[in-house]
Amino acid sequence: MTRQAWRIASATFVLVALAALIESLRYGFLDRLGPGPGFFPTCISVVMGALAVALLWQGGRPEGAPDDADGAVPRGDEAWRVLRVMVGLLAALVLLGPLGFRLTMLLFLLYLPLSLGARSVWAISVLALAGSFGVFHVFYYWLRVPLPVGAFGI
């Protein structure tokens, strides 16, 4: 499984290197003072592409890449837990602007422990309140670090 993942990752990097190379060529390799803005990116893109191709080739050989049975891809409960965290993070990202820090974090900190199997209402509530309104207060008022305020003024 890992070997397959290596191949996919290497192929992705080949594409990234190719895109970077095309973009780099727009910047000018040399100018009248010497190396231009595209000089270093072009060099890096070429080296990166070559390495990714080599890794792709290596990953295709049986002895080239590890083939750990203890999976690169999580399954069952493991996968669900990872997915729940990712969903929570994505939702927090989307809501941070419109709802502001306090409400977003309140929802995030209610959702995440619950979705991971925590069942103590008291502990979850304390964490959610302290982590949203409490942290906002500390950073915004004490440390003078501006955190986002949402459409409701919260």
């Binding site: 990234v16 190396p35 390495l51 890794l55 083939d67 990872v82 990712m86 993070l89 942290v135």
Partner: protein
């Protein structure tokens, strides 16, 4: 004598009540980070950077440095008490530390670990004072070609020692360099790779990337198989017996020397000194069969080497501006956020800061030994916090940290993207350190390369005709060739 005078001035800075307080807070927070599984020192330091935003640079750096070496000690506690290494450098301590705990000698294991860490850290700080200033003075004579070649050595070391596939490590380095290119061209000022996003004109922020790769990535990995079952051991007297003392003297001495010198080499990483110290002790021991069954030497040597390394690794960071490990790269990012550029000029431009920070290492080491032994039971209790709450709290601080650096929701998204990438790279066993180091060193690498070529009118010969540059580049080539040869028998590892 000059260094001593500077150090005395630094001690005055480090012992002001404010700086003492922040060293104390940093030591405590660092220990907590070290204790908690799933949060490594790099992630922990990155997450706590926002706490220093409104501080003056000196207390901010003192606090973050204290977090760094506090974390190095904290990992030991759980290794000994519950056989769970708080961070990677404590893995080797589990072997004998936990066996000692099972025989009722947990206190002695923690005691010798704290004492060894204190001695290693303190002696290494003296060595740092001796080495750093001459090295910084030497580095001031370097021109762009020499600096470029030195950076190549640093990157090649980081690449060669990270992970089991050298190709993957090199690819990750290129990935980091490519990320470093996003934003304004450092020489001509033209935007690159910004694709019309104004948020990318300032480049890819180091903090969101580091927090994502290390913080979010670690949490995603940990949440797959969270720690649940903790085997408890009793904590008895914290003082080793006379016999244990006798057996620990040599390992502490050797661990100090080894840790410090390995710390001087950028890219070695914090884990290798602990393993080398352990292996060395096993080799020189008259009773190697004791190792793995609760030999105190197996705790004293790696723990001492670990803290000596942590201090030694500050030498290339402070004197040359080259971070030797991901945690130090994060620390370097914190320096930059506070308007300070680590490197040879630091000793000239900010002597109060650099010597204050160096002197604070002594203070921090004293705090660690005074606080940690009585508080061992409390630290072990932290492991009882259910992972659901712990990870939610860590993610909260990641979001705060990523946002507050530039007040940008875009950076929060960037951190999450890199969190997923960090998770994937870990699953693939591709090393993160080369990418992080390349991201932070990339702009300097490009600038020195291009300036060198402008100096020579585009002639690459400038890198071989200057003796120091040529020597550095040959060294880098030797390092890479050696690593490539080591990487050949991959089929045996796979």
């Amino acid at each position: 004598m000059e260094a001593l005078q500077f150090w005395l001035d630094g001690l005055r800075v480090a012992t002001t009540p404010t700086n003492l307080l922040f060293a104390l807070i940093g030591s405590l927070l660092g220990t907590v980070i070290g204790v908690l599984p799933g949060i490594g020192p790099a992630a922990g330091t990155a997450i706590l950077i926002p706490l220093t935003f409104k501080l003056d640079p000196i207390p901010a750096i003192i606090m973050l440095s204290a977090i760094y070496y506090g974390a190095m000690y904290g990992g030991t506690i759980t290794s000994v008490l519950v056989n769970v290494p708080g961070e990677a450098t404590s893995v080797i301590t589990c072997l004998d530390g936990y066996q000692m705990a099972k025989r009722g000698r947990a206190g002695a294991a923690l005691g010798i670990s704290a004492i060894g860490s204190f001695i290693g850290g303190t002696v290494a700080t003296v060595a740092l004072m001796v080495v750093a200033l001459p090295l910084a003075s030497l580095a001031l004579t370097f021109g762009p070609p020499e600096v470029f070649a030195l950076l190549v050595v640093g990157l090649s070391l980081a690449t060669s020692l990270a992970g089991r596939s050298m190709l993957a490590a090199l690819l990750m380095m290129c990935f980091g360099l490519l990320l470093a290119l996003v934003g304004m061209d450092p020489v001509r000022g033209a935007p690159r790779f910004s694709f019309g996003f104004a948020a990318l004109y300032d480049g890819v922020g180091f903090i969101p990337v580091a927090m994502g790769l290390y913080g979010i990535g670690e949490i995603l990995l940990s949440v797959e198989r969270p720690y649940q079952e903790i085997i408890r051991t009793k904590l008895s007297s914290l003082l080793p017996t006379r016999e244990e003392w006798r057996r620990s003297v040599g390992p502490i001495g050797r661990g100090t020397v080894l840790g410090f010198f390995l710390g001087l080499i950028p890219g070695v990483g914090a884990v290798i000194p602990t393993f080398v110290a352990y292996i060395l002790e096993k080799r020189v021991s008259k009773h190697p069969e004791r190792f793995g069954t609760g030999a105190i030497e197996g705790v004293a040597a790696p723990e001492t080497a670990n803290n000596a390394y942590a201090t030694g690794a500050m030498v290339p960071l402070l004197a040359l501006g080259i971070p030797g490990s991901p945690t130090l790269a994060v620390l370097m990012g914190a320096f930059t956020i506070n308007g300070i550029t680590p490197g040879p000029l630091l000793f000239r431009e900010h002597p109060d800061l650099v010597w204050g920070v160096i002197a604070s290492f002594y203070v921090g080491n004293i705090f660690l030994i005074i606080l940690n032994l009585p508080l061992v039971g409390l630290w072990a209790k932290l492991l009882e916090v259910p992972y659901q709450y712990l990870y939610a709290g860590v993610l909260l601080f990641c979001i705060v940290g990523a946002y507050s650096t530039r007040q940008s929701i875009f950076d929060v998204g960037l951190m999450m993207l890199f969190g997923v990438l960090g998770y994937v790279f870990r699953k693939l066993d591709w090393p993160l350190a080369p990418a992080v180091l390349a991201l932070i060193l990339g702009p300097m690498l490009e600038q020195t390369l291009r300036t060198s070529l402008e100096m020579s009118g585009g002639d690459l010969g400038i890198f071989v005709t200057r003796p120091i540059t040529a020597a550095f580049l040959i060294l880098a080539a030797v390092i890479l060739a050696g690593s490539a040869m080591r990487a050949m028998p991959l089929r045996k590892l796979a």
